[in-house]
């Protein structure tokens, strides 16, 4: 064991650097102990405590004190001191700006006017949404499973700040042409939508976009989702009211359409009064028993704007022969589309069994295929537990499609396919082979409502052609597709 002590006058480094230097030198092979420090009283005491013998010095001297193995080389250890004292090179690029960890933090980085889109698990959605509202921004909450009490609290707070809460469980919104969630690319027109239903909203977007190819100004400028519970008694239509106010204030909106299930009676009354007070006319498109279907709502909108309803496009009608059995099988990804078809089918065929039944006794159990007319919504919460929405992952529906096809009593298969932002890049490529396989043994009529626009990323025409080539008959209107399917089933029953 040997000690080496040297004083370096004129050398200076701050104590923190020197602590680090000492640690680095200590790690050098052969070094038993090392202390590099300015020769202050305190440091000299520490050095003496370590057993070093320090020559007379001033506090402006740097002391290098090394204790080495007998075999170790002093020069090597001193080289390690010099290396450790050399300034570190600055690292390239600014690695110090990390992405924001909360919605509040993200909104501090954007300007005013930004919209927040929250799709975290429902248990955490309220917290993120509050960030947006507190900062005075609108928020769309795609997440479901948000407790209704939290929805009420969010919306009451938003109302106090003049902000808009779209959701929870809001699948679709279009704000100034920007589609959020599952939304279609549309030509902006002079219609504003307020929608408590995602796929219902998408159906109207698609139909009005189609009509807009013929009629100038027909098209949706904004589609503001409000979430399926907004018009319930508990929530009281807070977001619907704010959405109406916004659309009314927009000079570029000539007509407002509200799409929702029938509201709670007291909410309906208040809504009617609110709508009446607006300067902009409001078309109430309520969905449910005894109400118009979505296509009829679109047609009423066109009529109000002075236009005749166009012929809603159908392709592949030649593919369809007679029903191959007595039963109708509806397999849907869109909840509102399933509802709409079920309402129409109930009138024509009687009760329909479903996982989202019109009345409790019609509920399906675990088996989604029973010896009765059935309609299944694969987007329902119970069927999306632990898997992606069927607009993204069609596996489950394709399996049921094969089962339905194998059932000899299946007469007609009714499907929907929804295009737009957020959906699969090429959903027809996944559905077409399943349709083809379903029709391999028997030419079961497969009627598809294909909800989308020619501007959607997937391309309406290409998707339609792929489905037609697989043997399907493709409608833009879900009501029209349903009517066609019912006509075929009724034909078989006669």
């Amino acid at each position: 064991m040997k000690d080496h002590v040297e004083l370096r006058s004129g050398a200076y480094a701050d104590s923190v650097t020197l602590l680090q230097v000492s640690r680095a030198v200590q790690a050098t092979p052969g070094v038993v102990a090392a202390q590099v420090a300015m020769a202050t009283g305190l440091n000299l005491e520490v050095l003496e405590g370590m057993g070093f013998d320090i020559p007379a010095s001033s506090p402006n001297d740097m002391v290098v004190a090394l204790r080495l193995d007998d075999a170790a080389d002093v020069a090597t250890a001193l080289a390690a001191v010099d290396t450790a004292l050399a300034p570190t090179r600055p690292s390239a690029g600014d690695t110090t700006i990390a992405p924001p960890r909360t919605t509040a933090s993200a909104l501090r980085r954007t300007g005013s006017g930004a919209v927040a889109l929250v799709s975290v698990p429902g248990a955490s959605a309220t917290v993120e949404a509050m960030d947006a509202l507190e900062a005075g921004h609108d928020v769309m909450i795609f997440s479901d499973n948000v407790p209704v009490a939290e929805e009420v609290a969010l919306k009451q707070y938003a109302a106090s700040r003049g902000a808009l809460v779209m959701g929870p469980d809001c699948g679709t919104a279009v704000i100034d042409g920007v589609g959020l969630g599952f939304a279609n690319t549309v030509r902006p027109g002079r219609i504003g939508l307020v929608a408590a239903s995602g796929t219902g909203c998408q159906q109207l977007l698609a139909l009005l976009h189609h009509a807009g190819a013929t009629y100038e100004g027909v098209g949706v400028r904004h589609a503001l989702g409000v979430g399926g519970r907004d018009l319930s008694a508990a929530v009281g239509g807070t977001s619907t009211r704010e959405a109406l106010r916004r659309l009314d204030a927009d000079a570029d909106v000539d007509l407002v359409v509200v799409v929702s299930k029938p509201p709670a009676p007291e909410v309906a009354e208040a809504l009617a009064a609110d709508a009446e007070a607006l300067g902009t006319p409001v078309e109430l498109g309520l969905l449910g028993r005894g109400q118009r279907d979505l296509t009829a709502v679109a047609e009423a909108v066109l009529a109000r704007l002075g236009h005749e309803a166009p012929e809603w496009p159908v392709a592949g009608a030649d593919n369809t022969g007679e029903a191959t059995g007595p039963l109708l099988r509806g397999l849907f990804v869109g909840g509102t589309l399933c509802d709409e078809s079920m309402l129409m089918a109930t009138e024509a065929l009687g009760p329909i069994r479903s996982n989202i039944p019109l009345s409790d006794e019609l509920a399906l159990g675990d088996d989604l295929l029973v010896d009765d007319h059935t309609m299944v919504d694969f987007g329902d919460d119970a069927l999306t537990q632990g898997r992606a929405h069927p607009m993204i992952d069609p596996t489950l529906r394709n399996e049921q499609l094969a089962r339905a096809a194998a059932d000899p009593s299946t007469g007609v298969i009714l499907l929907d396919l929804v295009l737009g932002h957020g959906a699969e890049p090429d959903p027809a490529a996944l559905l077409a082979p399943a349709i083809q396989a379903a029709r391999k043994d028997r030419a079961i009529p497969v009627v598809v409502s294909l909800v989308g626009t020619d501007l959607d990323p997937q391309g309406l025409t290409a998707q339609r052609d792929a489905l037609v080539a697989a043997g399907a008959e493709v409608h833009l209107s879900n009501a029209s597709a349903t009517r066609r399917a019912l006509q075929l089933v009724e034909g078989a029953q006669r």
Partner: protein, 239 residues
């Protein structure tokens, strides 16, 4: 793939265009303009002015596209091997005109002082003849004044048939980009800064408009003010 927002008519023109190459009129770090069958269509970067005849991207700059061939295929523009995908369609028409007061004593805009513009703002076919194509650059100053005037009259719902016709007849006298922007202006299609000033004429929105291009913003603002004055004079006379 370059995602863009497309003004309605740009999308429609591209959708209707036949497949094939198109000549590049102008390419810089912020914009590429091509001749799409007699109408100028551009691709602009995030920092460029969002003119109503261009596809609006969020790319900070598009210098790497300069010199690449431009091809239309199935309604989509491809520049070199980059496909320009329309992800959103926007309506560039100005429809809202805010409270502009009576603009009698506004400070003059230096650049347009030599253009011999009418005090009452009422442009005629004679003015059009002297303005179209007047000035240097891709969008001559005279055209900017006319574009500001035409777009503002359209936004006010008071288009002027005589001036519009005169402009249409002289579109060949200026650059294709400028002619296209005049065509847009006739329909009330504007760049966002003009739309914002028309909707809400504040010092901030005026400054933002004046900052467009070298002289374009000044020309547009001059034209827009003339158009507003021309209709205000009408109102006075009627009263």
């Amino acid at each position: 793939m370059i995602p863009v927002a497309a003004p309605i008519r740009v999308q429609a023109r591209l959708a209707a265009a036949a497949d094939g190459p198109r000549p590049v009129l102008h390419a810089s770090a912020t914009a590429v303009y091509v001749d799409l069958d007699g109408w100028c269509v551009g691709l602009v970067s995030a920092s460029a002015t969002r003119v109503p005849c261009a596809l609006w991207s969020t790319l900070p700059d598009i210098a790497h596209l300069a010199g690449r061939p431009v091809v239309v295929s199935d309604g989509t523009l491809a520049i070199g091997d980059e496909v320009v995908r329309i992800g959103r369609v926007v309506d560039p028409r100005a429809t809202v005109v805010g409270r502009h007061g009576i603009p009698r004593s506004e400070p003059g805009i230096l650049m347009t002082s030599g253009l011999d513009l009418p005090e009452d703002g009422r442009l005629t076919a004679d003015h059009v003849a002297t303005l179209v194509g007047r000035g240097p650059g891709l969008t001559p100053l005279g055209d900017d004044v006319l574009a500001g005037w035409l777009a503002t009259r359209a936004a006010l719902g008071r288009p002027d048939a005589a001036v519009t016709d005169a402009v249409r007849h002289r579109l060949g006298a200026t650059t294709l980009l400028s002619a296209t922007l005049l065509d847009c202006a006739i329909r009330g299609e504007v760049l966002p800064q003009l739309g914002a000033w028309l909707a809400d004429p504040t010092a901030t929105s005026a400054d933002a408009l004046l900052a467009v291009g070298a002289t374009s913003g000044a020309g547009l603002l001059t034209g827009a003010r003339l158009a507003i004055r021309s209709t205000t004079q009408d109102a006075w006379r009627a009263a």
